[in-house]
């Protein structure tokens, strides 16, 4: 397993290089100059700015940017917000988005696994049908619709704060809005795999030996049924990070989402690249952790075996 982890980590630079090149090409092909957005600037001022950002030509930027990152850990200054460096911007807003994402995925997992298990255990019952309907609605409801409805609800009833960031309670509604889609998938996954596991021989043996239903389901079956959910957590994290843009916009949360979109609209190339690279590193690390956890949870899985 250590070998697999090291092999995957060794692939990071290659994947990041591909991502960097792709984003760089798109960002530089996009017409528009970040320095010429405001009023007519003196050509010498523009030349100085370009010199500072190593942006005299695309080639120069292509080389200097990763060199800066690898040698100094510096993502460069932001082209749009001139007094701020990209490091400052990202590290100020990243924890917010990450916290929101983790909260949302946690809600989705706990509630989803619970509902899915109950639906599988009481199969064909009312709960089963409700859970499938919820799952279908969760996939079809865009997160901004849910977020807007929750915002209305919060504004009318004033139970929880409707926006902003600062306390735990202000994270509840956005996390719920963000968690509905992963929750829908997790409910379906858990239900199907739980149904598979409940038909196994060892369950029959355990019940025959006298173990109570609750212990059999929650202690023994759940561990086996959880595996597909675990491998879904990778894409779920990806969704939580991208889906947070909309939720952050609706609830006015100072996360990374606003910078994602605004940087592209402002042609702020350093910020675009910084955000994309940070995001990709996060995603790759999370996928790797999920794969490691997957191999660790189920000792029968042999990750060193080559897939077909």
């Amino acid at each position: 397993m250590l070998q697999m982890a090291l092999w995957r980590i060794a692939q990071f630079p290659l994947i990041l290089a591909v991502i960097y090149l792709l984003t760089f090409t798109l960002a530089w092909v996009a017409p528009g100059n970040p320095f010429a957005n405001e009023k007519n600037m003196d050509p010498t001022v523009i030349a100085n700015l370009e010199k500072r950002f190593h942006a005299r030509s695309a080639g120069e930027f292509l080389w200097h940017y990763p060199k800066n990152i690898v040698l100094h850990g510096d993502f460069g200054p932001s082209m749009q917000y001139r007094e701020w460096s990209v490091n400052d911007i990202i590290f100020a807003s990243l924890p917010v988005s990450v916290a929101l994402g983790i909260f949302a995925v946690a809600i989705a997992t706990f509630v989803g696994v619970g509902v899915g298990t109950l639906a599988a255990v009481k199969r064909g019952g009312f709960l089963d049908w409700t859970s499938l309907s919820i799952a279908l609605i969760g996939i079809s409801l865009p997160s901004f619709v849910t977020a807007a409805l929750l915002l209305m609800f919060a504004a009318k009833t004033k139970i929880v704060p409707a926006g902003g960031w600062g306390s735990v309670s202000s994270a509840i509604l956005p996390a719920i809005a963000l968690s509905l889609l992963p929750m829908a998938y997790i409910v379906r996954l858990t239900r199907v795999s739980m149904l598979d596991v409940l038909g196994s021989d060892f369950v029959r043996t355990a019940r025959a030996k006298g173990l109570s239903r609750s212990i059999v389901v929650w202690k023994h079956c759940l561990r086996n049924a959880f595996l597909p959910v675990l491998s879904y957590l990778g894409p779920a994290a990806a969704f939580a990070m991208t889906g947070s843009f909309v939720v952050e916009k609706v609830f006015n949360i100072p996360g990374l989402g606003q910078h994602f979109v605004n940087s592209v609209l402002n042609r702020d190339r350093t910020l675009i690249l910084g955000v994309v690279l940070v995001y990709s590193v996060f995603l790759l690390t999370f996928n790797l952790l999920v794969d490691i956890a997957y191999a660790w949870v189920d000792p029968r899985i042999d990750v060193t075996a080559r897939k077909e």
Binding site: S140, F144, M152, A155, T242, F260, V261, V264
Partner: protein, 323 residues
């Protein structure tokens, strides 16, 4: 899958009894309640949107999408005239008309994007599954890498990069906007289809009957068109039906963020964004938000429902995540 399952029992000479009905795909699909209901609702909404195009795009019609009227700003829905059914927005435009045109645009962009991603995914999946070897590894590895990219960002970048060149090419800003939008969405959505097609091609290729064809001397092209392709149509149809709602969802996300359809052209996502934008604790113009959201949800729900029904018919033993 497309072979007729007609069972004929000859009771007496010359008398043939049909025991089992002919099972062709369409009749099987029509028997599934999910397909009928889901497809029916979609058909109603799509027909309503497309058939009223004559009115919504016609500047002299009452249902013109951009008919601004300051006196009618933010007026609540009324039972008559028809353009007041959904109320009016900030500029006095009929939300009903805008929802109809928005429906055409959202569903049109979603379908076009899904078509691009289906074509791309099928081609890549076929090549990877059929050729195998290093081509397969390279293609699948790139699919894995692309899965990890933030697609929204790529869509936005792509749109910004190519919108102006396309504008100069077409001469029409709105057409350029639509084309670049569905191309961008299509280009990032083909990954799942590629994986599904590749898996299906691999499993078909290992079937005994393909080996029998080869040993009989059937040329590769013939094997492909007569045996492999008909068996691919089922899964492709299913995943194409499931790609359309995800494409519509992505378009609505982008329009909500302001980087999708350019105003004044409406789309359900941008209408929802306008509705959210005027939320305030003082006065809530619910019709500006509820109607576009409701239409969006009903459409997506029906499409997903129909896709689920089709998937149960064509691929009941699927191993690819039973989502």
């Amino acid at each position: 899958m497309t072979t007729a399952a007609t069972d004929t029992l000859s009771a007496t000479e010359g008398e043939i009894l049909r025991v089992a009905p002919r099972e062709d795909l369409f009749s099987r699909a029509m028997r599934s309640g999910r397909v009928v209901w889901g497809g029916g609702i979609i058909l109603v909404i799509a027909l309503a949107s497309v058939l009223t195009l004559f009115f919504t795009l016609n500047e002299s019609s009452a249902l013109y999408y951009d008919r601004q009227n300051a006196e009618l700003a933010r007026v609540a829905p009324k039972a008559w005239p028809p353009q007041a059914w959904y109320g009016y927005d900030n500029l006095g435009r009929s939300i009903f008309a805008r929802c109809l045109l928005g429906g055409t645009i959202s569903m049109g962009v979603g379908t076009a994007a899904a078509t691009i991603s289906v074509v791309l995914g099928v081609i890549v999946g076929l090549i990877a599954g059929y050729r195998g070897g290093w081509i397969d590894s390279v293609l699948m590895r790139s699919v894995d890498v692309l899965y990890g990219l933030p697609y929204i960002l790529l869509v936005i970048l792509f749109k910004i990069a190519f919108e102006r060149p396309l504008n100069e090419l077409f001469g029409n800003a709105q057409a350029a906007n639509l084309v670049v939008l569905f191309s961008a969405i299509g280009l990032v959505s083909w990954l799942t289809m590629a994986r599904v097609v590749r898996g299906q091609v691999l499993s078909i290729r290992s079937m005994p009957y393909i080996e029998a064809c080869r040993s009989m001397g059937l040329p590769q092209g013939r094997i492909f068109t007569r045996h492999v392709l008909p068996n691919l149509i089922g899964p492709i149809t299913v995943y194409a039906t499931l790609t359309v709602p995800s494409a519509i969802l992505q378009e609505s996300f982008l329009s909500f963020l302001g980087v999708g359809i350019n105003p004044p052209l409406p789309s359900w996502g941008s209408l929802a964004a306008e509705g959210v934008g005027q939320l305030s604790p003082i006065r809530f113009y619910w019709w500006m938000l509820i109607f576009p959201c409701m239409l969006l949800v009903v459409t997506l729900l029906s499409l997903n429902y129909m896709g689920d029904g089709l998937r149960d018919i064509f691929d009941p033993k699927r191993e690819a995540a039973k989502l």
